[in-house]
Amino acid sequence: MNTNWFDFEKEIAEMHSQLVKAEETHAQGKLDMSDTIEHLTKKIKEAQTTIYSQLSGWQKVQISRHQDRPYTLDYIENICTDFVELHGDRHIKDDKAIVGGWAKIDGQSVMIIGQQKGRNTKQRQMRNFGMPNPEGYRKALRLMKLAEKFNRPVITLIDTPGASPGLEAEERGQGEAIARNLLEMSVLNVPIICIVIGEGASGGALGIGVGDRVMMMEYTWYSVISPESCSSILWRTWDKKELAADALKLSATDMKGNGLVDGIIPEPLGGAHHNPEEAFANVKATILSELQTLKAMSPEQLVNARIEKFSAMGVVQELPA
């Protein structure tokens, strides 16, 4: 079980360390601690239920970034079989911030693509903190086109703090790469399911996020900018990130409420990292059920509905002339 607690879980963390001690004592056979263990377990669950029923936007952002949270390759490993990873954009290089390839879910072949973060310093550098370069978006598009060619659905897993800002990214056309994906994904002739599994930051997320179904896991965020950067631009300080997180309405519930995503995938109590198996099962079940619906639609129906859905997003009013 997770032991990296958030500041807002202090109370749980204390009870948890008592629980660990009680379990140790019990295991040593000196004292029967079963009553204490039962009591603490119940208390922890109660506290978690209370805390997790009233999370703020910023707290959800923190959960989405937890270091033990499952990443794209964890999902692929645990919900798929026969994964064949495919590399490279055929122009520049293989961007390790985006992974993708063929995989089978319950025997059905899909093209699965996602941003990949690293768990330790070395991996984080290799994965560029999950911030893709243009070649990452171009690799993703190449794989999506393969999926279209061989008539297989596309699954994308979104988890990025943003597209990489840098000299090389600009030289190679970061803007063009993302733009091209938006255009091509909107008319791709196979089903596309996009799932925000962690962070969904701006164009970097949307670059693999135009789908027939766009789902968010319960404790993830998706917006035009991170709360920190928003705070720095609008309030001219990094300290208003909590305020910015609320103002941006970036949580799954707000995004669903505003009709900007299609659904929410529930997470285990305490977040996906508390019980990855449950998170994997929920994601898998969602993919399978959505695939069943989408596979029944013709390519034309899919594309029309996809374009109509994104075209309807936005709130405008007609002023009197």
Partner: protein
């Protein structure tokens, strides 16, 4: 070469940021000082080479300095005047205005900011769309206005561009997009973000229908605008020395911890790296568009 990117930092757009704002306060003051010696509006002083030019000549040259070719920023009214024959055009969806889907409040409520911008500029939002004729050829144009909250893209910008593309589709008219924007408008958050998907999807339909799309990038074109419609032209073109990029220069500078190379993210840089078809002087814009379209329109 000088890229003009010191003047959109105090704005609620994704590619600006606070440190940038502080550093350019002095720059903003300099600009006011520049205006002072200009006598009674009959003369214009070039912001770059400081040449003083009679206003009449300045306007006849489309606000391009006759001496150093500095392209002063202009808005949709000027572009429409430059492009459409006899200045005649029909505006589309002229009264579309912003909602406030998120009830967004930072230092001021978003609705107040919109009203202030509308009063200050006489515009309804950061893009105007119109159709008309240029040198006898029908053309549908969407042109952004930097004066309106930095040309930032919210629902109105996305919706008006989408409807202008619908007009192009319905009338089989070529589409010209003139971009000038710091990116997505923060106060509409994810609604702004989704305008990128919306406009790109519409452009996919335009492409399928075989209708030409020309994207003209002007100073500045950054953030979500670059990462959607601005980069999707059959022909991507730009005015000289415009700032064009995805991430803002300050963000990149802070990320890499080094000064940016000279001319980085300029039109000339993008041409060199293969992302533009050509750079066009504003004084040549109309003739060049006509010549380009003459090859592909029957």
């Amino acid at each position: 070469m000088a890229v003009n990117h010191s003047d959109f930092d105090d704005l609620p757009m994704e590619s600006s940021d606070s440190t940038w704002y502080k550093r350019t306060l002095s720059g903003i003051l300099t600009k006011t000082k520049d205006k002072k010696p200009t006598p009674d509006g009959l003369w214009e002083k070039c912001k770059r080479c400081k040449e003083v030019v009679p206003s009449k000549e300045w306007l006849a040259n489309h606000c391009v300095c006759p001496s150093c070719h500095y392209h002063e920023r202009i808005g949709s009214a000027e572009y429409f005047e430059i492009l459409f024959d006899d200045g005649n055009f029909t505006e589309l969806n002229a009264n579309l205005s912003s909602g406030d889907p998120l009830n967004f409040v930072d230092s001021a409520p978003y609705t107040d900011r919109v009203v202030v911008a509308q009063k200050k500029t006489g515009l309804k939002d950061a893009v105007r769309t119109a159709h008309g004729v240029i040198n006898g050829q029908a053309l549908c144009v969407a042109c952004m206005d930097f004066a309106f909250i930095g040309g930032s893209m919210g629902s109105v910008v996305g919706e008006k561009i989408a409807r202008a593309i619908d007009h192009s589709l319905a009338t089989k008219t070529p589409f010209l997009m003139i971009s000038k924007s710091g990116g997505a408008r923060m106060m509409e958050a994810a609604f702004s973000l989704m305008q990128m998907a919306k406009t790109s999807a519409k452009l996919a339909l335009l492409a399928k229908a075989g209708i030409p799309y020309i994207s003209l990038m002007t100073n500045p074109t950054t953030g979500g605008v670059t990462a959607s419609f601005a980069m999707l032209g059959d022909f991507n073109i730009a005015e000289p020395e415009a700032l064009i990029g995805f991430a803002g220069p300050r963000v990149i500078k802070e990320t890499i911890g080094k000064d940016l190379p000279k001319g980085f993210q300029s039109s000339e840089f993008l041409l060199e790296h293969g992302f533009l078809d050509f750079i066009v002087d504003r004084t040549e814009l109309k003739a060049t568009l006509s010549r380009l379209l003459s090859h592909i329109q029957d």
